[in-house]
Symmetry: C2
Subunit: 448 residues, 2 copies
């Protein structure tokens, strides 16, 4: 199963760009002299370390293997771009090399340059990966001589978008083993966590309770992916939130809930019970410390009921708002073990699912993961090329065939939908449904 | 390690082809109504059959996953095409689907259409794969309504280029297990074969003797590939053969030998001893029966000394001619077990290498495989598109980092070079060296 996160970025060529602009951009990225250590190391199974995986620098680093130049077939619509990204996101990274790739893509009919990057989950999580890509951008359209994201910055680096981006932690070996699927299924998962989780799944009244219906998303998946993406003005989302007394994040969840309701109704596959999304949320300082000490990300999770059983968009938004509030309250009252258990559930469901099954728990703990990661609010450039949109590609896993990741940038909210090619048919329809849902919500709360 | 064979075909658009010709060609191929059973089945590990792999039809066959539309970045040289083919040839086929892919590629500066196909070795060997692709072509430039290679032919099929192409045998489970690397290393290799081989490797005077020097090609390889291809007029090769009293196949081997000598000299890596190529040759009826009964291909192998220690092209050609003659004589005097052992050596070196090592044999039995597969002699078409060239992509394996496969078509000899991306640097240089070597040979035998 591919275990990498990806990102799609769209750039507008600077004024006066020649016909070879994209090739030159590719060659400049490929021509990076010194590569940062994170992008040079690869996993290696050493005899000395008792056949455990360790990081080792790639002695025969081959830049051309990692940075590639691709093109879209005519007519170069976004449909062709998503199809190429789906394909690139479906192939596994080779272990004998550093676990990343970047593709500079030409051939979009609107003249934009696309860049798709992928990086293994063992190196950075999705949020850090996006921030890493953004950390090399500038707000200055005139700046030139800018380096690629994988270049070693010899001069003092500009203040990154987020402090986390510049100090990517070494991943503990246990996390690596898990992410690469090397260990046995139960490896590295302490019994206390499993018991806590299992109690939560059984007991609806506990703080970590969840009770999700079965859906078509919650089945075994294949290795191939489908990807689609689009964005909507944050101003529209903000107006809906304001009129309904909710948050932008609630509106994002309501858009997803409404779109999925329509999508599943069309397929005749809408469950009677409301669907449940796992939504990563930032932890406060004390909670962060707990999670980080165990090698997890400093992110907790809330189980949000998506109210997909309700037909009215305003009611749905309201219910989501309440469920989110309850979830956050529950999170703040959790014990350290409970927070870890919730975090583990999002990080390693492929490992947890069999464990839960062994204990007779057969319902999915949640139906899908919806993340919303804040990004830069102002326009950014790479050597004069204006970044016009940025969309995350995430990791569907067994039992969770659809993943929605949103990120804000320059007044737009970008949605990246990554699904299993086989389990989630016609993924692009969800884009239409998302668009309809913004209008539905506007109408329902009276701002349309 | 990827275990698939590939083919690159180049087509010239028919006169009057519109701007959407390639898309329409792709759509027509993708639109195949009924797919032949060979292209519908995938390997499945069944509980019922004791966890053995069996073939099973793909109930959710998804044509778009198998037939794809790709494009080359500008300037659309053959360099960009080879780079794309290298990439496509490096990715593994997904087991949960039928084990093949076809890519219709646009963007060549000369306006040609390229088609790259890949198919798992467990379904067909390289020779059969190429013949399968050719079997749907027509010698009639005006014929239309022709089907894709993977279509089920409901009407009586035209006489295939080779009878083998129409009746692809079911692959025995043992062969499948081997090809998919599922079995333990020693699986399915009878002790008698191993002993025969091991005796041959030790004993230079035996009929199956071989004694190859170590070269840069004979080391562990990575999963990534480099591919390059070109062709030369058979008339030129024939003239060299005629003037020197050798065969066209000898000239092909001498071209490879001379090109590799130059390539390795440039790298300062030419071994003192002459390199040895394993060259598959057709077996006579009696020999074929032996090989086929055991599930192998009806192909024997000759170990040819490539005389890479000699500086003079004419002397090298002469020595190769003699070595080939000796090898064929040795083949005809071999016992059935010896033929099988030779055949196994070519089919499954990844399995054999550890076995030989266990017995203290550390030298490579040969340095590379050079195959020469005859193809059609006349011009062929697909729905009016003229096939202008056809080049095989083969499977480099651990310890054999370079593979040269040649195929003749319409008066040209096409060379397909497939190498490990990491172990064989600057693979494209071999094309220049091959070209120089034709001229060198012409001069040396006095026909230039």
């Amino acid at each position: 199963m591919p275990m990498h996160v990806g990102g799609l970025q769209l750039f507008e060529k600077p004024e006066g760009a020649g016909p070879d602009y994209i090739r030159e951009m590719y060659e400049s990225m490929r021509g990076t002299d010194e590569v940062a250590p994170l992008f040079l190391k690869h996993p290696h199974r050493s005899v000395k370390t008792g056949a455990q995986l360790v990081w080792r620098p790639d002695e025969q680093f081959d830049m051309e293997h990692h940075v590639r130049h691709s093109a879209l077939p005519a007519p170069g619509r976004y449909r062709e771009l998503f199809e190429l990204c789906s394909r690139l996101h479906s192939t596994r990274l080779a272990w004998e090399r550093p676990l990343w790739e970047a593709h500079v893509i030409e051939g979009l009919a609107d003249g934009k340059v696309a860049m798709y990057t992928k990086i293994h989950h063992a190196l950075v999580d999705g949020v850090s990966a996006m921030r890493l890509m953004q950390s090399v951008l500038s707000t200055d359209a005139e700046e030139r001589g800018m380096l690629a994201p994988w270049a070693l910055h010899s001069r003092p680096q500009r203040k990154p978008v987020d402090p986390a981006a510049s100090s990517l932690p070494e991943v503990p070996v246990a996390a690596l083993r898990t992410a690469l699927g090397v260990a046995s299924e139960a490896a590295g998962m302490p019994g206390a966590l499993v018991r806590t989780l299992s109690k939560g799944v059984r007991n609806q009244t506990s703080a970590v309770s969840f009770y999700a219906p079965r859906t078509i998303f919650n089945q075994s998946i294949s290795g191939a992916r489908r990807f689609a993406a689009d964005d909507w003005p944050i101003e529209r989302l903000k107006a809906i939130a304001k009129a309904s007394g909710t948050t932008i994040n609630d509106v994002v969840l309501a858009m997803c809930a409404g779109a999925m309701r329509t999508y599943l109704l069309e397929l005749g596959a809408l469950p009677d019970d409301p669907m449940v999304a796992m939504v990563p949320v930032g932890l406060n300082a004390k909670q962060s410390q707990v999670a980080s000490a165990e090698g997890g990300n400093a992110i907790g999770s809330v189980m949000v009921q998506l109210a997909t059983d309700l037909g009215d968009p305003a009611e749905r938004l309201d219910r989501i708002h309440l469920s989110m509030r309850d979830g956050k309250e529950a999170l703040s009252s959790m014990t350290q073990t409970q927070i870890l258990a919730m975090s583990a559930l999002g990080q390693a469901p492929a490992i947890l699912a069999p464990l839960l099954r062994m204990q007779g728990i057969v319902r999915p703990p949640y139906n899908l993961i919806i993340s919303n990661v804040p990004g830069p609010r102002t326009t950014h450039y790479w050597n004069g090329a204006k970044l016009t949109g940025t969309y995350p590609l995430s990791i569907p896993i067994n039992g969770m065939a659809l993943n929605i990741t949103c990120t804000s940038y320059d007044g737009q909210m970008g949605f990246g939908l990554t699904g299993c090619r086989r389990t989630v048919p016609h993924l692009q329809r969800l884009l239409t449904h998302l668009d309809d849902e913004v209008a539905n919500l506007e109408k329902a709360v009276g701002v349309g």
